[in-house]
Every structure is written in C-alpha cells, then in structure tokens.
C-alpha cells in the first residue's frame, strides 16, 4: 500500500491531535514509526518497484511549515519542520514536500486578510531556502496564486475565484505553473518536481494536455489531486491521489484504517 498524506499547517481549530495538523502530523509520524511503515520522499514512493510506504506533503506554504509562529488564538506554535526534525530520528528516510504559492503579491494579500485569525506575516517566503537546505523538506509548486479568493489579482483573469477547474489555455497554465517553478528555483536553488492542484481541483486541460506536454520540460514529474485513495500502479501521473488530514482522517484509528485499506 502506498499513500500520500497531506497536511495544512493552518488547520488550527484546537491545539490537539484532532483539531490541529501540527500535532496530527507529529502523532501520525510516531504511529508510522511504531508500525514500521516506511516514510519516504515522493521521489522514492513514486519510483518503479516501490510497493509500500507513505509520503508526507504540506499544502499552501504558510510560514508555519518552516518556522515557529505566534498564533493569536493558540499562542506560540512549533513549525512543521520541527515536527519533521524530531520524527526523522526514528524515520531516517523522512523528507516531506511543501507545496507553496509562488506569487509574493498573492501571499501578501492573503497574509493581510488572515492577520486577525492567524497572526503576523503568515505567508512570507524567507523560510523556503532554510527548509530546502535542511534536507527535511522540498519546496514544490502549488501554482502562482492558487486563484485564491483572498488574492487581490489572479493570473486566471476573468475566471471565478476559488476554483482551478477552468484552466483551459496554454497562457493560463504558463502563468500559474511555469512561472511558479521559475520563481521557486530562483528562491531555493532547486527546481520543483511536483505540482499540487489548488483546492485539489484537477483541470482536465492540465491533466490530459498541458502537463504531459510541458511538464517534463519544466522539470515536473507528477501532479497531485486530493482524491482520497491509495496510489495504484496504473494511476495517471498528472493527477495522483492524496489523503487530506482533517477531511479523510482525524485520529490514530483513522490513519490505521487508511493504512489497512478498504479491505482491512
């Protein structure tokens, strides 16, 4: 069984394992280490011949992925990177992928809109190079602006916000994906190898046409949706499934259920 698990550092309903992805990730990594399940980088999990393992992905690239943060409701929080560093003592191959939003303007707009709920400077990118250099995290592509409702402008001009399903032209795809890969490479010195669809929305044009045609030239080797199921050998590599913490499992029993699979 091969699973890709996704966490959002901003899921901070309560500071416990059920309501917070920071503590959920820490608990899950302990559980995986106890169960002897290999936790692998995406490259290794997707390599031919890999039959069992779990890969960890983080979405949206808030600063909580990379550094401790002061949250107005929950106080001083550790970072996802610190969670990974602690867990690596028992999981030597652990290396997560953080899918970040590229556009500095979009990130600034989102940070401004989220300041009251999440605290100062939530979306800055200063932690990216440190996280990449740590060997615990790869910075990957989550689009230029996520076509996010909180971003002032979007590269998908004229399209409704809050969806990524309607990307339908080379120009839109270049503006959202290719530009982001260039930006991340300049920032961290490594070109992203994976793309995660914003909102988990798989645009048919991207999956069937643009990514197979342009992805390899851009250095991309796969893309991820949020379809909740394990990886299969015959999966279309431009829309691989991922489970999302909080939606697909919230506690230890839930993760064990995913590891056992539908037959378990």
């Amino acid at each position: 069984m091969r699973l890709v698990l996704t966490y959002h550092a901003t899921r901070l309903e309560r500071l416990d394992r059920r309501g917070c992805d920071l503590l959920r990730l820490a608990a899950d990594l302990d559980l995986l280490a106890d169960a002897g399940v290999p936790v692998l980088p995406l490259d290794d999990l997707l390599a031919p011949g890999c039959r069992e393992g779990v890969a960890i992905t983080l979405d949206d690239g808030t600063r909580i992925d990379g550094e401790p943060h002061l949250h107005p409701g929950l106080g001083l929080l550790p970072s996802m990177l610190q969670v990974l560093a602690q867990a690596r003592r028992r999981l030597p191959r652990l290396r997560a992928s953080s899918f970040v939003i590229g556009s500095p303007a979009a990130r600034a707009d989102m940070a401004g809109a989220l300041r009251a709920d999440y605290g100062e400077d939530l979306m800055h990118a200063r932690w990216w190079p440190r996280a990449q250099a740590s060997g615990l995290m790869d910075i990957e592509n989550h689009s230029w602006d996520h076509n996010h409702p909180l971003a002032g402008t979007s590269a998908l001009a004229g399209q409704p916000r809050g969806t990524f399903l309607h990307v339908a032209s080379d120009a839109e795809a270049e503006a959202e994906i290719a530009v982001t890969s260039d930006h991340i490479e300049r920032a961290v010195g490594r070109r992203p190898r994976y793309f995660a669809y914003p909102f988990g929305h798989v645009a048919a044009f991207l999956r069937d046409d643009w990514l197979p045609r342009r992805g390899p030239a851009l250095g991309l080797s796969a893309a991820f949706s949020t379809e909740p199921r394990p990886l299969r050998d015959d999966d279309e590599r431009w829309a691989l499934p991922r489970f999302v913490a909080g939606r697909d499992w919230r506690d230890d029993a839930g993760l064990m259920g995913l590891l056992r699979g539908p037959a378990g």
Binding site: L15, D16, L22, A26, D30, L70, L74, L76
Partner: protein, 305 residues
C-alpha cells in the same frame, strides 16, 4: 569525593551570585532592560553550570539539540530569566502583568472549582499572578524539598524557601506540599470551589502511569491530578506558559481537557507539552532530571557512563 573548603566556598559564592545578586538586580531594572542584561550575561558559560551541563548532556542524548552552542546560550538565558522571575513577579503591578502576559485559548470559568495542569516548560511563575489577577487564586502543588532539590549550599536552600514563599504570595494562598497528604488537600480545595494548580511532567513510579511521548521518546506520566479532579466533578484546564525570548512577552495558552478518561487527558497534556518542547526545547527545565523520565535512554548524572 569530599569537597575541599575552597570548593564549598566557591559554590556558596556562585549560589549567592546566581540565585540572589543577579536575579534581584535584574528584577529591579525595567523588564526590557533586564531582559537585555540577562541575554548579555548568558554569553558566559559558567551560569548554573551544574544544572545546565546535565540538561545539555541529556538533551543531546535525546537528540533535540541541533546547534549545541546556540542551545546552551538559550538555556543559560532562560535559567537567568527563570531565577529572576520569582523576584520580578512580586515587584510588578497587576498592570505590568497584564501588559507583558498574553493569554490565548479557552477562558477560565469565573467561579467554581478548577484543576489546572501545567508543566516545567516556560515561565510557569508568571501564570500564577495572572490567574490571581483574574480572581482565580490557585493553590499550587510544590515538591517536597528532598535531597535532589536541596543539594546546594545554604544560599541555594534559602533561595528555594524564599521562592516557594513568594510563589504562595503571588498566588494568594499557601502552597500544597507533595508529602503524601496532598491528594486529600487537593480534593478538599476543589470541593470548596477553589482552584488547584499542579505540574504533570514529573517522574513517577505509579503503576497506573500513562505511557506518552515527550521530546519524541516514550515516558510515563502520572494521572493522579486528573483522577482527583474527575472524582470531584470539576473541569480540568491544561496550560502552557512560555517567554518569547525575542520580545520578552510571556504567553499563556489555556485549553480545556477533553471529556474523557484521565488517561486520555494525560495524553492530551503530553501533546501540548510536546509541542512546547518541539518549539523550544531549552524551555523545559526537566531536561536536568530527564534520566528519571527516560531511564532506558539516559544515565543519572552521577552514574558511570
């Protein structure tokens, strides 16, 4: 090995400086200035050498130290702050407390019994005047002064007694010493609708202790505080308290314990404490006694390696 007279005087002198002169002196300064002064002092490696060297060794053995130099400096800084705290608190007004203590999380009920459960991470000393400032004076459970807590000289022993007395003054009620009778006294306090406050991250030999992970490793924590509170039907609130070393602000996070068994509540407490240790391991005072929490991994400081 018997210590020479010179060594004894050397230790006494160090205790006077570390537990009296510097803490009282820095507490007399305005806090932003006092904090900068303590940070400057923390450059010297000799501060609280006995505790710091054990804590650093244990923390390294547990794998929580990335940069040993940076870890040791932050640890010394925190020890300087924590020794100053017991003098800072009685010297400051409630207005000062409100200005420098930021609270997050759940609100405490204004009346009725509450069991507060905290840890030895951060700046617990500041939680007390804050709770008192909102009218919830806590009865604080403190350890009995055994040999391990009174191994220093006379100035160090006096400091511990004064510290406890100032803690009782800050809380507005006498402390509850862990002497075997504390479960009954605690239960009485809660039954009267008062607030009790204790730490749960201490070594325990209780057979019903709950297995949890702290700093990534397995250990066992007692569930007696939770059992007593449940038997009296009072709500349990977990809290963490820490100093933001960059700004000097004290942050208190309060969270109501889950409605579950004492075992589940201990696990929830361990998750909260684990997050604090992850964020800044130098804040956890229990590294210096971690051999008692992780006996499979660590040797006592005076045992052969």
């Amino acid at each position: 090995m018997a210590r020479t007279r010179v060594q004894q005087w050397n230790q006494r002198l160090r205790e006077v400086v570390e537990r009296w002169l510097v803490p009282v002196g820095s507490a007399l300064l305005p806090w932003p200035l006092g904090r900068r002064f303590l940070w400057w002092l923390s450059r010297w490696r000799g501060w609280y050498h006995e505790e710091a060297s054990i804590a650093i060794r244990h923390a390294q053995s547990l794998g929580v130290v990335d940069d040993a130099e940076a870890f040791a400096r932050r640890l010394r800084f925190r020890l300087l702050i924590e020794h100053a705290d017991c003098f800072l608190v009685p010297l400051r007004s409630r207005r000062h407390v409100r200005r420098w203590v930021r609270t997050h999380g759940d609100a405490l009920p204004p009346t009725g019994g509450i069991q507060l459960v905290g840890s030895h991470h951060g700046c617990g000393y500041w939680f007390v005047p804050w709770a008192a400032s909102i009218g919830r004076e806590p009865g604080i459970i403190v350890p009995q002064r055994g040999p391990h807590l009174a191994r220093g000289g006379r100035p160090g022993g006096l400091y511990l007694r004064v510290r406890d007395a100032l803690l009782a003054r800050a809380s507005g009620r006498p402390t509850i010493v862990r002497d075997g009778s504390e479960p009954h006294r605690l239960a009485d306090l809660l039954a009267r609708g008062e607030v009790a406050c204790g730490a749960c991250d201490l070594p325990t030999h209780r057979p019903d202790a709950v297995e949890v992970r702290l700093a990534g490793w397995r250990t066992r924590l007692a569930q007696d505080l939770f059992e007593i509170a449940q038997s009296k039907g009072v709500p349990i609130f977990l809290y963490t308290a820490d100093t933001d070393l960059a700004t000097g602000c004290r942050h208190v996070h309060i969270q109501r314990a889950v409605d579950g068994t004492p075992e589940e509540q201990v696990r929830q407490f361990a998750d909260l404490l684990g997050a604090s240790i992850l964020r800044d391991p130098t804040g956890w005072r229990s590294f210096s006694i971690a051999h008692a929490l992780f006996p499979d991994r660590l040797h006592p400081p005076d045992a052969p390696a």
